[in-house]
């Protein structure tokens, strides 16, 4: 029998992101139902689950982009409104029209909107921040490139650079490795690991089960409801995977995952 996961403790103020009783629905079918979770500080956490499990919705509900039916979200122990500046969000690459008239530099500078506001001119310091962010993802040679001319991997790096320019403490990424080339995947994970080493917290919706154990140290497994959360070693288990994915995950696949790094 499935035990319903319930975390009734008050959100830990040291947690970059703690959620209690979060429910979201599009129409009358809940996309997320009564989710509790507590992200560990300075962790790299993967959010995994089958298609339609509410992974992206979870991030959007945290950011207030989709309305919450119920539940609380606390960011570093406080309300979202006062801590928004400490969050950087990387939406799904496919969620925007890349034919938009902008070059790489324009997009990265959007990460500085909070500082530049409505009318302030872009300063040399802003340019330097954008330049540094592009260098960290290896895209400095593309600064004047039209975004529509970039490959999928390059577009994803530009999105990451925009988040880096925000200089946040909590990074929320929606499928950062979807449809990118191997080199970009390596580059992105290197950047994320450096963020973690610098004391930041990284939470990413992830779809490739074979790399979860290599890339992340914590995992959140959801399928509308929270199935499990915790350190990879204790949480990313065949039983939890079966509970999360149900019949969709073949036993053979789980065996392969176990060989690939599960203990």
């Amino acid at each position: 029998m499935l035990k319903v996961h319930r975390d009734t403790r008050n959100p830990d103020p040291s947690s970059p992101l703690a959620i209690r009783g979060l429910s979201v629905s599009y129409g009358e079918k809940p996309a997320l139902f009564s989710v509790d979770l507590t992200i560990a500080p300075q962790s790299m956490t993967a959010i995994i689950g089958p298609n339609g499990a509410g992974k992206s919705t979870l991030l959007k509900a945290v950011l207030g982009t989709v309305p919450r039916l119920a539940g609380q979200v606390s960011i570093f122990g406080r309300a979202l409104a006062s801590e928004r500046h400490r969050i950087a969000y990387v939406p799904q690459r496919a969620s925007v029209d890349w034919d938009f008239p902008a070059d790489v530099r324009d997009v990265v500078l959007m990460g500085l909107y909070r500082q530049s506001g409505l009318l302030r001119r872009i300063t040399r310091a802003d340019e330097a921040v954008a330049e540094d962010a592009l260098a960290r993802v290896g895209m400095q040679d593309f600064r004047n490139r039209q975004i529509g001319q970039l490959s999928g991997g390059q577009q994803q790096r530009v999105f990451l650079a925009r988040a880096l320019a925000q200089n946040a403490d909590l990074y929320l990424l929606d499928e950062p490795f979807a449809g990118v080339d191997a080199a970009t995947e390596t580059a992105i994970i290197a950047v994320l690991k450096k963020l973690k080493d610098a004391g930041k917290t990284v939470v990413a919706v992830h779809h490739d089960l074979s790399t979860v154990a290599d890339y992340f140290d914590h995992v959140v497994m959801i399928n509308t409801r929270l199935i499990a959360e915790g350190e990879i070693g204790t949480t990313f288990t065949p039983k939890n995977l079966q509970d999360t994915y149900g019949g969709r995950l073949m036993t053979a696949q789980i065996d392969r995952l176990r060989e690939a790094g599960l203990h």
Binding site: K60, L63, G64, T65, A81, R84, I87, Y89, P91, S95, V96, D97, F100, P101, A102, D103, D106, V107, M110, Y113, R114, S116, G117, L118, L119, G138, Q146, S151, G153, Q154, R162, L172, D181, A182, A183, T184, A187
Partner: protein, 392 residues
């Protein structure tokens, strides 16, 4: 007389120019947000309010011609139309385009019926009311021009202040929201600006064609520029010039429809950009496609010859002969031999790079067609060749 006329013409031209700038700038946001057609619903929804304003003013004992009263009436009904579009979109399963279609036609139909009723009324001065459909400057008063100029300037200021959040929203609304931007507020402000431009433009452009002045300048600017920061001011300039020139032309004869002429002038700009814009224009695209085709044929031909095959396609042979690579009898010249060998070597290198995922980053610099020496430095090519040798 001639002095008075030219003074009036100048006034109208300035008013139309300011209106055009405001329309071009606000229209850019709607265009980039992919909601350009919403402005069409707004403009058509002004008609019932316009007629309602007239009827109310006449009922109160006036002539029904005061521009302020007409503008207030049209603002109310256009806002109502917008609200209905939003309501249909969020509360029913209708998509925005269907909602726009429904609102546009119902409101306009109602307006036309009211306009017909007004023509039969005995009180009030209804003559000229129908000019607000297509715009006219013949009977424009100085006060009208002042309202238009002041309104246009105000709209422009607000549009410039909101430019950054609007562009951010147009490109990536999820990211904009993650920064705490209120989408409803930004979209609402944009619609208020569209509504203001429509209402201000009633007198000069008329309600049927104002949508053209909102959309055409930004579409034209998009043909010319690839950056939102440039498109907005460019659209303002195109709109402004169209307004001024169109108003000027329409004042040459007494019965010319001002709105139609302004729109035709801006369409002229669009047509010109459509064909002659440097990167996205029809001619430039065709030339680029042609050039690309030639490169493909040349490369394909050289690779075939390098591997000892015959080239049968006449176009390829013609190209290679023209380049001096191929003799008329189908044999490679000395230059052709070299070029073919180089092409084959590049192809072998590419195959090696593709086989090794570590090079995928490297490979993304190359377009898959031109000489590798264009995409890679001599040292890099040397490195590839050495790596291939050691592998072999």
């Amino acid at each position: 007389m001639s002095f008075a006329l030219s003074y009036n013409v100048v006034l109208v031209m300035i008013g139309a120019g300011l209106l055009g700038i405001a329309a071009g700038v606000t229209g850019t946001f709607m265009f980039l947000r992919k909601r350009a057609l919403l402005s069409d619903a707004v403009s058509h929804a002004t008609l019932p309010g316009l007629c309602g304003g007239f009827i109310v003013m006449v009922a109160l004992g006036g002539t029904g011609r005061a521009l302020e009263g007409l503008l207030i009436g049209s603002t109310i009904s256009a806002a109502l139309g917008l609200w209905v579009v939003q309501f249909l979109k969020t509360r029913t399963r209708l998509t925005e385009d269907a909602a726009i279609g429904a609102v546009l036609s119902s409101f306009f139909g109602l307006g036309v019926v009211m306009l017909t009723l007004i023509q039969t009324m005995s009180a009030g001065q209804q003559a000229g009311l129908d000019h607000l459909l297509l715009g006219s400057t013949a009977a424009m008063l100085r006060e009208d021009a002042q309202i238009i100029a002041a309104g246009g300037a105000l709209v422009l200021c607000i549009a410039l202040i909101l430019h950054r959040p609007m562009m951010l929203t147009a490109f990536d609304e999820n990211f904009a929201q993650s920064l705490g931007l209120n989408l409803r507020l930004i979209d609402g402000a944009a619609m208020a600006l569209i509504l203001a431009v429509t209402v201000i433009g009633l007198k000069i452009v008329g309600l049927i064609l104002i949508v053209a002045l909102l959309i055409i300048p930004s579409v034209t600017a998009r043909m010319i520029s690839n950056r939102a920061h440039h498109i907005t001011p460019l659209a303002g300039v195109i709109g402004g010039v169209s307004g001024m020139v169109g108003a000027g032309i329409s004042s040459l004869a007494p019965d010319l429809p001002t709105g139609a002429i302004i729109v035709l002038v801006s369409s002229g700009f669009f047509l010109f950009a459509l064909f002659f814009a440097p990167a996205r224009g029809v001619l430039a695209s065709a030339a680029r496609a042609r050039k690309f085709q030639r490169r493909v044929h040349r490369r394909q031909g050289l690779l075939a010859l390098a591997q000892g095959y015959h080239v049968h396609e006449p176009y390829t042979r013609k190209l290679l002969q023209h380049d001096g690579y191929l003799r008329a009898d189908g044999v490679l010249t000395e230059r052709g031999e070299d070029a073919a060998k180089a092409a084959l070597r590049d192809e072998t290198r590419l195959a090696y790079l593709r086989r090794n995922p570590v090079y995928s980053e490297f490979l993304s610099r190359h377009d898959g067609l031109s000489d590798l020496s264009r995409s890679f430095t001599r040292d890099e090519l040397h490195h590839i060749d050495r790596a291939m040798e050691t592998k072999a």
